[in-house]
Each structure stands twice: as structure tokens, then as C-alpha cells.
Symmetry: C2
Subunit: 359 residues, 2 copies
């Protein structure tokens, strides 16, 4: 097992990466006597017993949510808080989020808000959550008209990324997680990008060593950026590569047509193609990125045509917009992303029109 | 006008105290172009025009809530967020809370949560809000079964306490605010307590100079404690003198029988009498405190008998309880409060039985 640290002063915390870590009680780092495990009905039958076993004979409550992004709402947030009040949990309790990004985000926001903030531990069981959403303290629920619009910055006290849980993950979800892994290479680490080109098949085949390396490197990159800019006043925005486009597509697809990672894959493709349209990178860079995404099992075309104006409309209410106009993350090379003001609408519309048309 | 500062590093902010300050646009300190003023249907007819005038020709939205503590809910929180999304507000927007503690607390929590945190300005129009709830960054809504159970620490960018707004405040609410003013003297400042004994009549008569001094001194004391312990890991808990008892009484009275400040007045009386029962202070200290509360127009008896066991039951789920047992703020003198483990149940029950019986 490997452990890395997110360095945030008195809010620093460890990320434990390795097979079987979910069953090791010491890793949870929780001194609390009252714990609430929040999970979903897909993950609970697989891993809840292991987590309960690790937590031992403490006061452990369990809340099992239905699986899916549609649970990431204020109503689910309220349901978690109801349970905490009903069970008479105190300020020194601890929440444990066992599952993917939805469980982690809504549980984290409940932990941020219950009594103005209590401890929580992230136990991510999807690749996407292990390399991205469980690390860095962003918590949120969706507003009916805008993703992740309501939330808090609230760091967990520990992250336990058990690579063995990825064996039960559907291949489509594994691929979705690889979108974020590839993102880290594209934004700041050309060497990692090359490593991924050489090892993507091993990752899809669940090679334990390759997975541990990819997760560790992803978390290291994210942890370093978060340590530098916890509240996204600057550099942290790089982590949003592909996400402004991606959130618009997810919203248009009613959060059903594409998984988050699939929408991010399309978003990375669109960010690269926009960068190329501005002359910042060459077409061959776009093709290299698209080839890696495809080999990871991810979409780089939309299937049916998506209306570019609809995408642009959705991008305006994305939360990365500010008064000086929409900001985007674009590339001036593989391994070199920049936060920039969005280009002219006509440029974006042309890229969207060309790349989101049915083949 | 007087200005004091809450010293919290890069989250420091000014409190402006004085007559007419509500109309001075420069005090709002908001660089935002998009503003949402949240207020209620009692305050809006009195002061909304002055605030709109001060904010000038920017993009100003207004949300008018019904008046009252029963609006301090997740539903109202969601209503504010709906308006922000509908109006396509960006991350650099600013909320303005114009009203009493309810408006300030729910607006502050919405500001803390919208896009994981945007600016807000407190414009408190009650004495209670001017000396207490608008300062220090505690925001919250009530859970149906527990007050202030859901919220965040989120500091405003400015507080504008216009003493002229107190002229339209019902005398009962002015008295409720004096409960918190008296609290500051009782916990840390015997000299201020003596000043209040000499000047309470002037305060009730709305003497401008006396009000400005009392508000300034209250805010200075609160600001100093908050600067030392923003997230209430220690000393900040002193500000809760009377509040654990008070919250239990408010809950038993369905938030209708007593105003918050009235419940705090009873709570201060109960904390003093508990301290006396333990031999920490003398009966004459209790009598001095009760005399000042009464001269301020506040209750020191419950009227109808309140069941002591019901109060104790409600105190158990109060959020100041932790695993080592309930904590209370008690006194070892006027101007000298301490955070301590609650005494034996039998002691509390005896004080509650004696002091909450009908006369």
C-alpha cells in the first residue's frame, strides 16, 4: 500500500492507495464514536460488510441511497441530515462516504453543513472517485438547472482508495475514470501522458501495479495543485479541463446520455480542438489525445448531432463563468494547460458544430 | 460613524456602526455587479429603497421573504439558490442580507453554499443582529427538530449596523437584543456590565450615543473572541452563555413563546443559578444579573411552569453536547465565564425545577 499526503496545514490528510485497504480500521483515522456510513444500493452488497468490520464495535449507522447521479440533490442532503439528527449525532461524529462521486459529494456536503462541519472519510469505490472527486475537498449537490451549484469546500480526514474494488466496476465506468487520469497528463505532465499511452491496455485489464501507479500519480498531481490553491482562485481551475464543455453536455443529455467521465472525454477533445483552432497546438496533438481517449474506451464523437447553440447556452450558466466573460481551460501543448478567457463565440460555435455533428 | 475590524487575515472585514449608514454605498464594499438583496416583508417597506439607492445602477435583484423564525429552513435556503440560478448569477456576485438574524443566517448560508461560496454583506436591522448574529460568520438554518443544526462558517465582507433602524424596532425586540449585550458584560467585562447597569434606561429610550457605545463594545468583544477562535474549538463557546438552556426553551416553546433574546435571558439566569448552586458565585451576583435583565425588559421567570425533564431532554440534542457529556458555559464571577462539563443531572434538574416553576 502507498500513502501520499494532501498538504493543507492543520487540514492535511492522507490518501491510502492499495488492494484491501478498505478493511483496515486504522486507516479511517476516525476518533469518533458515532459514525454514519453513507453508501448506495450497488456498493452496499459488495463492500459494506468489510467497512463495518473495519470500524469495529462503535456506534455505526448506515444509510443506503439509490445508485445514480439523480440522487445528488438537496433532498438527499436533507435525508442524510435527518438521519444524523434522528440518531442524535454530536459534533464529534464522523461520516464515511462509501461509493462513487455522487455518494462522496453529497455526503461531504452533509458533513460540511451538519453543525457547521464534522469529520468525514472518503472511501471511493470507482476509479473516477479515487483519482478525482474524493481528493481536494470539493463537495456539492446539483441544482435542477446546474450541476454542482450548491456545496462547500470541506476536506476529508482521510481517503481510502482500495484498488481491489475496481474489479467489480463495470468496464464503462472504469473507462470514465480514465478520462480524469488522462486529464492530469494533458494539463501538467507530458511524461505521465506518455506513460499512459504505453500502459492504457494494462489499466483496462486491471493490472494492479499499473492501477496503483496511475492512481498515485493522479492523486499526487491533484494534491499538489489543491495544496497550492485550495479554493480555486487560480491554478486549481486547470483541473477543470474539459469540464465546462462536459457539464454542458451532461446537462443536455439529462445526466443519462453520458457518464461524467465520458462527457469530460468529449470536453477534453473540444478543449484541444478549440486550442488548435486558435493555433495554440497542432492537429497532431489533438489526434494524439483523441487516440489515447479512444484506446481508454472513451467517446471522442457525440454520436447523434448536438446543437452547438444549445451547448453554448448551457455553458453560460456554468459556474466557471464570471463577469469578464466565460473562462476556459485550453492547451498550449500536451502537459501544458492554461486558464484563459473564452475565445469569440464564433470560434467556439465553429468547433462545436464541426466536432459534435453526427459522423 | 464608527468602524471596527474583525481581524481574520485575508477574511478580515469592517463593522460600520452609526445612524444613516445604510444609505452609504461605499460601505457595502462590494465590487460585484450582480447583487441579490434578501429581506423580509416587515423590513422591505421601511429600508429597501434606501439600500437600493445606495447600491446604485447595478444589477440588483430582490427577494422578500415572509417575516419570522419559521422561514429559517432548508426550503428558504433552496428558494434563495433558485433565484441565484434563475438570474444566472456568477461566482463573483454578492448577497446582501437586510433584516434580522433570520434573514442574515439563511442568506449567509446560501452565500456560503452557492458555487461553494460567494460574497455577502450583513445589514442588520435589529439590535440582536447588530450585536450578535451578523458578526462572526456563523450561518445556519434550523432542522425541524434542532435549531441552527445545518450551516456553515462563512464571514461577510462587511457589516453595516445602522442605529437609526432601531427606531422602527418593537420595544420587545429591542429588549431581546439587550439580552446579548448584557451577555457580553457577564462573560468577560465586568466594567461594561456596570456601565449597562448605569445606562440601561438610556438604551431603552434609544439614546443614540448610548446605543452606539453599547453596539460598538459588544461587537469589539465578539470580534476579539472570534478572531481568536473562529471555528469554536475553545474560547468562542463563551458566547453561548445561556444558549444551551435558551435553545431548549425555544424548542419547547415552538419558537413562538419566547423571542430568541428572551430565551437567552432565561438561559443566562439559569446558568447563573446553576453556578450559584455549585458555589461558584453568590446569590447576590445572580440577583444583580437578574435585576439588569429585568430592567432591560427581559423575563427571568418562565410564567407557566416548564417541565425540567423536558428541558433536559432537549438539551441532550443541543449541538454543544459531545461524547464526554454536555458542555455548559457557567460563571465564576460577573465578567468571568468558563466552558465546563455540565454538572450532575440532579443539580441541573433541581435548578430548573426551582427556577422554571410558575411563581
Amino acid at each position: 500500500m502507498e500513502t501520499i499526503t494532501v498538504a493543507l496545514g492543520d487540514r492535511s490528510y492522507p490518501i491510502h492507495i492499495g488492494g484491501g485497504s478498505i478493511g483496515e480500521g486504522a486507516l479511517y483515522g476516525a476518533r469518533a464514536k458515532q459514525l454514519l456510513v453513507v453508501t448506495n444500493d450497488v456498493v452496499a452488497p459488495l463492500y459494506l460488510d468489510a467497512v463495518r468490520g473495519a470500524l469495529g464495535p462503535r456506534d455505526v449507522e448506515v444509510l443506503v441511497l439509490p445508485d445514480g447521479e439523480r440522487e445528488k440533490t438537496l433532498a438527499t442532503f436533507a435525508r442524510i441530515l435527518d438521519r444524523l439528527v434522528d440518531a442524535r449525532f454530536h459534533r464529534d461524529c464522523c461520516l464515511v462516504a462509501l461509493g462513487g462521486g455522487v455518494v462522496g459529494d453529497v455526503t461531504g456536503f452533509a458533513a460540511a453543513s451538519f453543525q457547521r462541519g464534522v469529520d468525514f472519510v472518503q472511501v471511493p469505490t470507482t476509479l473516477l472517485a479515487q483519482v478525482d472527486s474524493s481528493v481536494g475537498g470539493k463537495t456539492a449537490v446539483n441544482h435542477p438547472r446546474a450541476k454542482n451549484m450548491i456545496g462547500a469546500f470541506h476536506q476529508p480526514i482521510a481517503v481510502i482508495a482500495d484498488t481491489a474494488t475496481l474489479r467489480t466496476l463495470p468496464p464503462r465506468e472504469l473507462a470514465a475514470g480514465l478520462a480524469e487520469v488522462i486529464k492530469y497528463g494533458v494539463i501538467v505532465d507530458a511524461e505521465f501522458f506518455s506513460w499512459l499511452e504505453a500502459n492504457v491496455a494494462k489499466l483496462r485489464a486491471l493490472d494492479a501495479q499499473a492501477l496503483t501507479y496511475a492512481i498515485r500519480r493522479s492523486c499526487e498531481i491533484k494534491a499538489a495543485i489543491v495544496a497550492e490553491d485550495e479554493r480555486e482562485h487560480g491554478r486549481r481551475a486547470l483541473l477543470n479541463l474539459g469540464h465546462t464543455f462536459g457539464h454542458a453536455l451532461e446537462s443536455i443529455g439529462a445526466y443519462e446520455r453520458w457518464l461524467h467521465g465520458e462527457a469530460v472525454s468529449l470536453g477534453i477533445m473540444l478543449a484541444a480542438r478549440t486550442s488548435a483552432a486558435l493555433g495554440w497546438i497542432g492537429d497532431e496533438d489533438c489526434e494524439r489525445i483523441e487516440a489515447l481517449l479512444e484506446r481508454a474506451g472513451l467517446p471522442v464523437t457525440a454520436g447523434d448531432t448536438v446543437d452547438p447553440d444549445l451547448v453554448l447556452e448551457h455553458m453560460q450558466i456554468d459556474k466557471k463563468a464570471d463577469k469578464v466573460g466565460l473562462k476556459l481551460i485550453l492547451l498550449d501543448g500536451i502537459g501544458s494547460a492554461v486558464v484563459t478567457r473564452a475565445p469569440e463565440r464564433v470560434v467556439l460555435r465553429s468547433v462545436l458544430g464541426a466536432r459534435l455533428a453526427s459522423p
